[in-house]
């Protein structure tokens, strides 16, 4: 099961985890990453259609690099309050190393290759971080 979607609603990490956990007896390890709003309120803009296609392409790239059994990406958009979840990346695999690596890879690339833009409560658009761009590029040198 490989699935990428955007949503204005919160996701349920227990449900998302359970769907990967029951993929079958070859799944021994599941890694999840969730990002959440740290303080204030965020408005997240996206490019619907292109966002899902870009996230699906990242999943395909992760499958080509690691033997993973399933993966889910959910990215919120719209208005998000402090403490609310923004993004979920979850990866199921036979062993832990590939689950950890594929999840970190997906997050690093989501940050720099998927069409989402964050605006703070005061109207300021969040700038892209050089360290995020570096983190994504580092995977190409492996």
């Amino acid at each position: 099961m490989f699935e990428a979607r955007i949503s204005t609603e919160p996701f349920d990490i227990g449900n998302e985890h359970a769907r990967l956990a029951r993929l079958g007896p070859h799944v021994g390890a599941i890694v999840t990453f969730t990002g959440q709003v740290r303080d204030g309120v965020l408005e997240l803009e996206t490019w619907p259609g292109a966002a899902e296609r870009r996230m699906a392409a990242l999943l395909a790239e992760a499958r080509a690099r690691w033997p993973i059994a399933g993966a889910t990406i959910v990215h919120r958009h719209g208005r998000l309050e402090a403490g609310e979840p923004i993004v979920l990346v979850a990866v199921a695999a036979a062993h832990r190393a590939e689950a950890f690596e594929a999840a970190a890879f997906l997050m690093d690339w989501l940050k720099t290759a998927a069409p989402f833009w964050k605006k703070e409560a005061d109207g300021t658009w969040v700038d892209a971080q050089e360290r995020d761009i570096e983190a994504a590029r580092a995977w190409d040198r492996r």
Binding site: M107, T112, P115, W117, D127, Q129
Partner: protein, 86 residues
Amino acid sequence: MAETVRLLYFAWVRERIGVAHEVVPLDQPLLLHELVARLCKRSAGHEAALAEQGRLRAAINEAFVGWDAKVAPGDEVAIFPPVTGG
């Protein structure tokens, strides 16, 4: 083939231009930076949004591209700041 190109704007590019998308005439292929130069003349908002290419990124038909990419009539061109999701 359409004699137009569809533009999509996101984040502060959209805010400065004042619209999320627009359709402009295009009767033959040109380079993306040439298209942007034309767009700058459409309004003060366009000028404010598009003047600094170094702060912008672009996609043609959803594929991220550089400013030397060729734009053809019928294409969909998106212009936006570097993404900040995740």
